[in-house]
Symmetry: C2
Subunit: 230 residues, 2 copies
């Protein structure tokens, strides 16, 4: 379903502005009679919309009654060893779209970049934008921790450390209820010492899939698996 940002969302007919019309008609090929979802990013509202017709200068649409966008209902913490380059942005987007409520980037033994604490503001913006695009009213909290053990000190009923040496993730997810936390390593993975620390802190070491996942694939794959149980 196409999602179209629209300020001052209200029920009734309206004309699309030039940018909206371009997006709906040129980019996404909607025709009269096609439906879309309009969302108001500032107020976390959305509404069903329908393309009506094209008059001389623009496109008219009908907007249904606005409703509140949904917020995440489960506490899901995603802890990730700081990745290189713009992978962190992709991780924030994927984790937001798939329901994470807190994202913690952490310095680990094998990270190759140490993002400054100020990077948190950028990631928070990425998270807010991703939340709007995916129809989510809230956005995850973002933090950086410089110590592995500090990042793992989260309050969660189920804790999972992702590592190829672990048990199948299904064993843990199928009986997990309530709040949950996942910890994943950077490109080079976690050291054995880091996995040991996680296990001492109550994390169960789990793996997903038959092959090696890149660090940036893990949030979508693991939170996609978690979404089966929501």
């Amino acid at each position: 379903m196409i999602r179209l940002p629209m300020d001052d969302l209200a029920a009734g007919e309206r004309q699309l502005d030039a940018e909206q019309a371009r997006y709906v008609v040129r980019v996404h090929r909607l025709r009269a009679g096609d439906t879309f979802v309009a969302f108001d990013p500032k107020r976390a509202l959305e509404a069903d919309g329908e393309v009506l017709s094209r008059d001389r200068v623009s496109w008219r649409v009908r907007i249904g009654p606005p409703r509140a966008a949904a917020a995440a209902t489960r506490s899901v913490t995603w802890i990730h060893g700081c990745p290189k380059g713009d992978k962190a942005d992709a991780i924030v987007r994927d984790a937001t779209e798939l329901g994470a409520t807190r994202i913690i980037f952490v310095h680990t033994a094998r990270i190759v970049a140490k993002p400054p604490a100020s990077r948190v503001e950028r990631w928070a913006r990425v998270a807010r934008e991703a939340a709007r695009q995916c129809g989510r009213a809230d956005a995850p909290a973002i933090a950086i921790e410089t110590k592995w053990a500090s990042a793992l000190a989260v309050d969660a009923e189920t804790r999972v450390c992702l590592d190829p040496r672990g048990v199948p993730l299904r064993d843990v997810l199928s009986r997990a209820h309530g709040s949950i936390a996942f910890a994943a390593g950077p490109e080079g993975g976690l050291t054995e010492a880091e996995v040991d620390v996680a296990e001492k802190l109550g994390f169960v070491t789990c793996k997903l899939g038959a092959f090696v996942m890149r660090t940036e694939t893990a949030p979508a794959a693991v939170l996609g698996a978690l979404a089966l149980f929501s």
Copy 2:
């Protein structure tokens, strides 16, 4: 676990060449005693490795007995409306890493780019490279179809069409056995007519997660969910 490409993989001690040493020591911070996996991309072999020591000019490692890399064991077809830009490369990488055995890009009503048939060769290269990096001996077959119904004419015991109007994916995955096919739309989603065609061809319309997934997130999230059942 760090994966290190190594031609002519054989058990025994050897010196890393300059590029390998840079990758292992500078990029991934391995130290003497740390372990890694060496893989031979040409022969689909891999072996455990251990960093031994640094002599005057390079690093010595010990390589264990080579073993065959694993291939996908389940027939998984991923059908995707042609996305914009380089998202197709990312889709190929994610789907390869998470076990797809066939990837079909298809022209749909709302696609905005029609990649030429020659693009298949590029995607096949991306798939082979992704397979090597993730420790997979085989790589998915890649195709482009210009008709939705032709793309959906795949031989699979379970068929899933991904759309926000569907039933929870869990209902279908938990009882799916054997070969499976997934069909996903491009950025603007599938039209109602396309979903109808899919249903007539035996696809069950399913959704995953509480929020709207971007088209490029779907393969990792859905195949991550499928990996729970493998």
